[in-house]
Symmetry: C2
Subunit: 492 residues, 2 copies
């Protein structure tokens, strides 16, 4: 009997769901999302704050197409190239969706022979990765990039990028963070000092990059079992990559017998010394950490690398989100509970050779830049707002124009026209004869501060009622003075 | 001899151009462009003004992915479907780039069961069309859409969309314009009255749509020769589509014996009457024109249709641009010299059935909306600026921090840090020892209003020189008061 009831229920549900027009499941593509008005308000607030920081440092905006010739992207992303979205060959050029904003910048600089620029670019990029959307990891996601291109003296632009990361994370107020710093030359020098064959530097670097999500034992296994590294060499690397600290660590490593003998290592350490000095002048000592386990995934870095990481603050912002794996170069990053950090929200570094790859004569334009991982930040803020029960306003309407009784729609349109022409944000119900209560409820639900209530008696005297929605106080205002009165009320 | 010299020259040029790294021509995909900082400044200015209008009418922002399931776009665009960009099948879902923002809105409303919203959406859309980039016609281009969805009383929302077009074109100040109005029901009724078979309404409507770029004789030829319409029927249509005017034309047509007999025609005319009445209340009489030749390309319109068209003002804005064919539903539109109009910069209409196409039960959500053709507007403004020789500022830097002599880079970083932390937009040269003249020239070139000049003598006394770049006047300011002094200078 139970079974037959369930079968009947199933048949009923199936019958109800039978489509009439729509023959497929309505959804957005895998790994993508719509932004509803509430989410757009949050998103715009975050982007505005980031743009403010970028402009404070003299950034100029550029924009590039969402797709590029496939050849532009080829050979720039190593293993991650498999994540690139290709367009169908419909005759004409072979195109791919941009994977980041850095390669398009390099293409732009080379194509236009620009040798210096301080540019920001806020736009969506595309990666066919395994999405984890509740954690802010998508296939279509925003990047907010700031890059300084040009031939300048060492570490001045690099240090400013670190300062920018700190300013962005400070202004967004999403919790305590640390900016990890390292240097690709030092990593290469350290590999050399440990006895890694030069041809294996990038592969071993990729393995080190996994240290923020895997314990050393697993990374060592990858180095030895998969990448054929000598166990003793791996153990030497293991000693270095556990180190992190400040200036004193640089001093210690400059005195290290093995590293001292390798020019690349010394150059990297001297670079770190200068960078830490400049970070000190920017009051960032407590924010930065020289961390030898930081490797970053992408091949194109040639100097300083850095990563802004939120520290774990259980319960402070919304732990289900904060404790989750997060976006890191499009790859999942497990929470590193041991070090008390939970998620990378910014990253970047120096890439001096990328622009040269696009120049017919190989002319290089040195670059350093930072990318803010805003999807992760949106996810943290969305969780925060969901927990707080605060309702963000999604429109900016200042005045609702209401009718007290029937037959006033033309009067409403006249008043609306007067307000719009005066630059006041105003709306009405689009109904000929809406109920007054429904109109006033709309104002309260949407947090509209003021309402005008039209009535024949008042209109006959050339006045209207102006109502303060939150207090429900009404006063009488002459129609001719309405715009001015509203403006002064809104200021108060 | 001449030939050999040319051959030598060719060999030389060929030799010079031989690529070392880059094996292909560096370019953006066909029909797309980069936006340089100057163009971004212009673009952001236009978009900000449009957003201001949209918000004045209570618009909320949404965003949707740049691609959709291919099935979402299928069957929505008629002949234009061939212009849709498809993504390569890389396993998983079959995706296409969005062709407009209207179909994604309809998908969003149906998917989330939203029955009323006033939303704006500013984003790029994609059409594999023949680009004409100097005229503002691209394969990747911005649309700025405002739509009102919901079951409301007739023409209230429709008239507000017309008002929005007028406000946008007024605020952008790009020249005189007219907003043409028509009604799909009237067009269908008129076709019926003339004797067009019902199955041919859309095809004949498409032919009428070409009247803004082709003379009547050609359109008639298409109707008769290609679409098999009776010549006498075409001639009757020809009489109607030449008509344009205001309320008096509606009266005249309501009295027309042929139209009076067709319920669709009468309904359409009554709708126009109401719309023109509301447009009058919005002070738009001089801006709108009831125009029976307006048909609009897309199939999904069901009621009012409208189009904002710039009038020809030879020499007023930049005639080479203004006299060119322009974007119209992704199709080239030749200048209609006869009527004195040159280009459609806004368009829209009512589409009451599109959302229902996505709903499993066919539940309809009536919609009316407007799309602003901003690329065309950017093109007009770019030509205007190119002609004016005005140089737009592309960054907002308020203060440049300069060194008067060598050895001051650390002091510069300290001062910069102080300014940034005070929220002041500041930059320096990223060189250890830049020349003072080069630094001051940078300020003048980039229209930076203020410069701080650091020198040992002043620093010893705890002061710096603050220079007004345009007047070159310098005064001495204590370091501790620097941020406040700069703020008050910038306000003045």
């Amino acid at each position: 009997e139970e079974v037959s009831r369930l079968l009947a229920l199933k048949a009923k549900l199936g019958g109800d769901a039978a489509p009439t027009n729509q023959k497929f499941t309505l959804k957005t593509p895998k790994g993508t999302r719509d932004y509803a008005p509430q989410q757009m308000t949050l998103r715009q607030g975050v982007l505005d704050k980031i743009i403010q920081v970028f402009k404070r440092h003299g950034g100029e905006a550029i924009d590039t197409p969402v797709f590029e010739l496939k050849e532009v992207l080829t050979g720039k992303y190593g293993e991650d190239s498999k994540l690139i979205y290709d367009l169908k060959d419909q005759g004409g050029e072979i195109l791919s969706m941009r994977y980041d904003l850095t390669v398009p910048l390099a293409r732009y600089l080379a194509m236009n022979k620009i040798s210096s620029i301080k540019r920001y670019h806020i736009a969506k990029v595309y990666r066919r990765d395994n999405p984890a959307m509740t954690r802010g990891r998508y296939r279509e996601f925003y990047q907010c990039d700031f890059d300084i291109a040009g031939t300048y003296d060492p570490m001045l632009a690099d240090a400013e990028c670190v300062k920018i990361v700190a300013e962005v994370l400070d202004t967004l107020d999403i919790g305590d963070y640390v900016i990890k710093l390292n240097h690709r030359q030092l990593l290469d020098g350290m590999f050399e000092a440990c006895g890694v064959p030069a041809k294996d530097f990038r592969a071993i670097c990729s393995a080190v990059d996994k240290l923020d999500k895997s314990p050393w034992e697993e990374v060592r296994k990858e180095m030895v079992d998969e990448k054929g590294l000598d166990g003793a060499v791996a153990d030497k690397i293991g000693e270095y990559v556990r180190l992190s600290g400040g200036k004193e660590l640089v001093e210690q490593l400059l005195a290290d017998a093995k590293l001292k003998a390798v020019p690349n290592a010394v150059k990297g350490l001297e670079g770190m010394q200068l960078l830490l000095n400049y970070c000190g002048l920017f009051n960032l000592e407590s924010r930065v950490s020289f961390d030898l386990s930081l490797a970053r995934g992408l091949d194109y870095y040639t100097g300083v690398i850095y990563e802004g990481v939120l520290k774990a603050e259980p319960g402070a912002v919304g732990s289900p989100v904060k404790a989750s794996p997060v976006l890191e170069n499009g790859k999942p990053v497990a929470a590193d509970q041991g070090s008390g950090t939970v998620g990378s929200v910014a990253g970047g570094g120096r890439y001096d050779n990328l622009v040269g790859m696009f120049d017919p004569r190989g002319k290089a334009v040195p670059c350093v830049g930072v990318s803010i991982g805003v999807e992760r930040i949106f996810a943290v803020l969305e969780a925060k707002f969901a927990a707080s029960n605060v309702k963000l306003r999604t429109n900016d309407v200042e005045v609702f124009v209401a009718s007290a009784h029937k037959g006033l729609h033309e009067q409403r349109l006249r008043v609306l026209n007067q307000l719009w022409d005066a630059g006041i944000k105003a709306e009405h119900s689009y109904k000929l004869n809406p109920k007054l209560l429904a109109q006033l409820q709309h104002c309260e639900e949407h947090q509209i501060p003021l309402a005008i209530v039209l009535g024949d008696a008042e209109l006959a005297q050339g006045v209207v009622k102006l109502r303060e929605v939150s207090t429900r106080q009404e006063s009488t205002v002459p129609l001719a003075e309405l715009a001015n009165e509203i403006r002064s009320r809104l200021k108060a």
